[in-house]
């Protein structure tokens, strides 16, 4: 006899949740393609392919149902997030290796869906950044900045085998990100307003990059509307990043970029709506979510400004993932009838 009350349920399945997250990424990706060409699509394709193969193999070894756990979509979400975080002109084996490592060590070592302690995508990104710092800091210049416009065939060539293209073409295609550029130029004692006159800077953040951020913002708002994510995390993260950069900006606008620049450049928006909102590796209590978001905002700023790496999102997220069990146990909400 089964006693399975409640007999009725009303919930979206895990797959629906994950595929809505993928859907929400589409506007950002579309703008990415508009600004930088098809490179990102190739990366997403490679990442999806790798993740399905890797997961199938691991699930087969672990004698778990393959179809169910591939269709839950969580692997794809991690793979897509990694694919849009790395430079779109990185060689093909970068994304393949990153996805392989992030899925196996970030997810399946811990038991697969629901058990990972760390955000798989950010784990993959951090491993890649530490192992291949040079490749990971060569970003593509937006299409409309390159004099002789390169076509998508060149992008495929550079991803698949960079020796097929002349060095001049590659150099013409790549540069540092605005955050990286500011960092290196500041060490040369250039004032910020001069630095920001470089062509790679746009209206709010990096040229082209700010557009993508807006796309992610739209997707994030969709997720909020669909109640896939709660408002706590993005609000806490963005406001803490904004406030801390505002404080430094108001003290010394010559050395510290404006708060809006910090919010709109790098992975800030993607982080706010898609990365820290990963339920498995994040805190579950409302208060915990707020502390988590605030801490990541501060860490991102500290690493960007004082640390050795130009972008701090991946490290900040991994660092705060370490704190999650402690945050959860210390921020238990007041239970009905308890003091």
């Amino acid at each position: 006899m089964e006693n399975r009350s409640p007999y009725i349920v009303d919930a979206p399945s895990v797959s629906v949740i994950m595929f809505k997250v993928l859907l929400a990424l589409i506007p950002g990706i579309a703008l990415y393609v508009y600004a930088f060409g098809l490179g990102v699509i190739i990366n997403i394709f490679l990442a999806s392919f790798t993740v399905i193969l890797t997961e199938s193999a691991i699930l087969a070894i672990r004698k778990l149902p393959i179809k169910v756990f591939i269709l839950d979509g969580s692997g794809l979400v991690a793979a897509w997030l990694l694919a849009i975080s790395i430079p779109s002109i990185a060689p093909w084996w970068i994304i393949v290796l990153g996805t392989l490592l992030c899925i196996s060590f970030g997810k399946h070592v811990y038991g697969g869906l629901g058990y990972n302690l760390f955000n798989p995508a950010m784990l993959g990104y951090a491993i890649l950044l530490i192992s291949f710092p040079l490749i990971m800091s060569q970003w593509q210049i937006p299409n409309n900045l390159i004099e002789n416009n390169i076509d998508w065939l060149d992008q495929i060539k550079i991803i698949m085998n960079s020796s097929l293209l002349s060095k001049e073409t590659i150099d013409a295609m790549s540069s540092a990100t605005p955050l990286d550029y500011i960092k290196t130029q500041l060490t040369l004692h250039q004032p910020l307003n001069i630095i920001q006159q470089n062509k790679i800077f746009g209206f709010l953040g990096g040229k082209g990059l700010e557009l993508i951020s807006l796309g992610y913002l739209a997707g994030g708002l969709y997720l909020l509307k669909e109640k896939i994510i709660s408002w706590h995390l993005p609000v806490a993260f963005l406001s803490s990043l904004f406030l801390i950069s505002l404080i430094f900006y108001s003290i010394a606008p010559d050395t510290y970029a404006s708060p809006l620049f910090h919010v709109m450049s790098g992975g800030s928006i993607l982080c706010a709506f898609f990365i820290i909102t990963d339920p498995v590796s994040g805190p579950t209590t409302p208060k915990g979510k707020i502390y988590f978001g605030i801490a990541i905002g501060l860490l991102v700023f500290i690493i960007r400004i004082f640390g050795g790496y130009p972008e701090g999102v991946a490290f900040a997220v991994l660092l705060m993932n370490i704190f999650v069990p402690l945050i959860d146990s210390l921020t238990q909400p007041r239970i009905f009838g308890h003091k």
Binding site: V109, Y110, Y115, A126, I127, I303, G307, Y309, N321, I322
Partner: protein, 193 residues
């Protein structure tokens, strides 16, 4: 001056974390991190030994070894001193916190052989600092060790409920976790400049 001391703390706690960056003291880090409670007590005991140990070692180095040109005796005399401090801590705990004493078990005397505890005074002596600096160095190292041990224990407690593949159960997944933590701490690189 204050900024200098602050940087020493930042450097020892975060940037050059004794466990995650220097990879010292892995024995208690793996052994006493199964439960949050014990890890808290263990980190308190280690912090105590580390701070006292660094200070006494500094004194011995500064007043006994260096004036007499006996620097080659550093390692052995530090071991003796640390063993003494650990023994003292052990007796203190057995008297005042008998249950804790039982729970920590073999790991308490093993603080003696904890390479972190010997490593910090030795690193300290090499950079020949003042008493305050060496105390801060020891204390910072201890705080770094404690924070990481407690966080690691909280992660491992969470893992108790996870369905980890049999091959990775226990120490294996703990080591993977420790390495990811170490990876995350690399994000602090450059903060001590």
């Amino acid at each position: 001056m204050i900024q200098h001391y602050f940087l020493i703390i930042i450097s020892t706690v975060l940037v050059n974390n004794i466990v995650l960056v220097k990879i010292l003291g892995l024995c208690p880090f793996m052994g006493v991190s199964k439960k949050l409670e014990t890890s808290i007590s263990m980190s308190a005991a280690t912090a105590f030994v580390l701070t006292i140990g660094s200070m006494t070692s500094w004194a011995i180095n500064h007043y006994l070894l260096e004036p007499n040109d006996l620097i080659y005796l550093r390692t052995i005399s530090f071991i003796v001193v640390i063993a003494g401090v650990v023994q003292f801590t052990e007796m203190l705990m057995e008297k005042n916190f008998p249950l804790l004493y039982q729970v920590l078990g073999i790991f308490l005397p093993l603080i003696t052989t904890n390479c972190a505890v010997l490593g910090i005074p030795l690193l300290n002596a090499q950079s020949s600092q003042t008493l305050i600096e060496s105390a801060l160095f020891g204390f910072g190292g201890a705080i770094g060790f404690s924070i990481v041990l407690i966080l690691f224990a909280s992660l491992r407690e969470r893992l108790d409920g996870a369905e980890i593949p049999t091959a990775f159960k226990g120490t294996a997944v703990a080591l993977v976790t420790a390495s990811i933590m170490s990876l995350a701490f690399m994000g602090f690189a450059g903060l001590d400049r």
